[in-house]
Amino acid sequence: MSRIDIHNLWKSYDSNVVLENLNLSIDHGDFVSIVGASGCGKTTFLRMILGEEQPSRGSIDIDGEALQPEPSSARGIVFQRYSVFPHLTVLGNVLLALEMSHAKYLCRSFGARRKEQVKRSQQMLERVGLTDAKDQYPSALSGGMQQRLALCQALIAAPKILLLDEPFGALDPGIRKDMQSLVRQLHRELGLTVIMITHDLAEGFQLGTRLLVFDKTRVDPQAPNLYGANITYDLRLNSLSTESTTQIDSQETQCSHDANTQALMV
């Protein structure tokens, strides 16, 4: 759980301005969904919070401290693809997260520590429903199961902030719905701060406690890259308490269909 403060954030590549003077504060335990057209800087924004890219100007603070300029265990990530290691089994993938934090030179843990770590990994796998697949390699898993594994691997490292980059974009609608309820449940239980990028407006509304829309506020038709994107809508979805979320769950199927169509038209 962590608070993120962003001041006057700019990002540009040469003369191509991607983000322009962005100011934002994200509270402890918020679930922020970010939507917006392609190429409006959502992913760039996420990469900057991840530490993969540096801001051109401005600052990002986490709990009042300036962000480290490289990825760290403070921020977990689930990408749309390639998030798990193909050469490790399901259990190996989760165990790796624990081994990395302890075995700095040997790179593997042994004996009692390993036993304890295997146990913790299995508990986490059970939580995301992958116990039966623990000895399989990722290539044998379906897309949904791979994303479950990626989520499990990210969460066992106990990040304060969880970043999701279109995590369900490549999944079938049914599996996507399962994954959404899993993420919502984990967010509630672990009290994480979550930032999720999505193309699916309905998903953004359903999952988030807050919805941000990224878009360009000014466009120069002669130089479309002159102005960057900013936050054009900032909707607090706090009215969606636990009870009302459950209500929405029941209407979800119908709802998401309509919203999908809308999102497509947008």
């Binding site: 990825p71 990530i77 390639y82 290691f85 193909p86 790796l96 997260a97 990395m100 700095k104 990040p159």
Partner: protein, 271 residues
């Protein structure tokens, strides 16, 4: 039906077609050998089957009159040992150079162009330098094999490391991995099967360098023997030796292929 859509129906048909070029080659050889031998029974260019049997008998199963050794086995052992030592050094060197060049920008800035230039130097052209520097013994043969194959392996591994999805490296960093851990747990295990491939593919070149080095300066070895008996036009020895070398190369290749699927069960299924 279009030609590209026609294929041999059964495994038997497939196998027979695979055998066909070999059969044609053998028949052609037999015919021409026969023509030459009827004209001149002492012809050495295309000896008959009985000469091959005699030669193999002499080289492989009779102790040499001069040294008392079974020459074919001595030669085979010497050559395989040189190949194994040379390729092991090559693989280790290529692996580490490749991984560091592929993963660490500061190393790549200096190392990558250097390895690229190194790989452009024709190894046979530096063979005299190796003989002058390292003498005519075993060392210069190892160095020639390493010089000829390590840059290729290093470049291949470097490329494979660069092809790892950046998401994986980011993910490892969010799991608090340091550079060493990323190399040991993420990069090395994923490039090892590629290393086996790269070594397998450079074995052909390695044989070339080995035989060349043996031909010029050696006292035993498969390449040495072929070039030695060339002086007597001993085709009855050369041809069985060439077939034996081919068989060895084929067997090593097959072993390496099996090794990949056996050691790295996850490999090849992830795409």
């Amino acid at each position: 039906m279009r030609i590209i859509n026609r294929r041999p129906a059964s495994r038997v048909a497939n196998f027979s077609i695979a055998l066909l070029p070999f059969v044609v080659l053998i028949v052609l050889y037999a015919v021409f050998s026969d023509i030459r031998l009827t004209a001149n029974p002492d012809d050495k260019l295309l000896p008959g089957v009985s000469s091959f049997v005699d030669a193999v008998q002499r080289m492989a199963f009779t102790p040499s009159k001069r040294t008392g050794e079974f020459l074919l086995w001595v030669d085979t052992l010497a050559s395989l040992q040189r190949l194994a030592i040379g390729m092991s050094i090559s693989a280790l060197l290529g692996l580490w150079l490749g991984v560091l060049n592929g993963l660490i920008p500061w190393v790549a800035a200096g190392g990558s162009p250097f390895v690229r230039v190194l790989s452009m130097i024709p190894p046979m052209a530096v063979l005299p330098i190796l003989f002058i520097t390292f003498g005519l013994g075993e060392l210069s043969k190892y160095v020639l094999i390493v010089f000829g194959t390590a840059p290729f392996i290093a470049r291949d591994i470097e490329q494979r490391v660069r092809e790892l999805p950046p998401e994986q490296l980011i993910k490892a960093q969010t799991l608090d991995a340091n550079t060493w851990q990323i190399i040991v747990r993420v990069v090395l295990p994923q490039v090892l099967p590629r290393l086996v491939d790269a070594v397998r593919l450079s074995l052909g070149a390695a044989w070339l360098f080995l035989i060349a080095a043996e031909a010029i300066a050696s006292t035993e070895g498969l390449g040495y023997r072929i070039f030695l008996v060339r002086r007597y036009l001993a085709m009855d020895v050369i041809l069985p030796y060439v077939m034996w070398i081919t068989l060895l190369a084929f067997a090593v290749d097959y072993l390496f292929r099996r090794m990949t699927s056996w050691l790295f069960p996850w490999y090849g299924t992830s795409k």
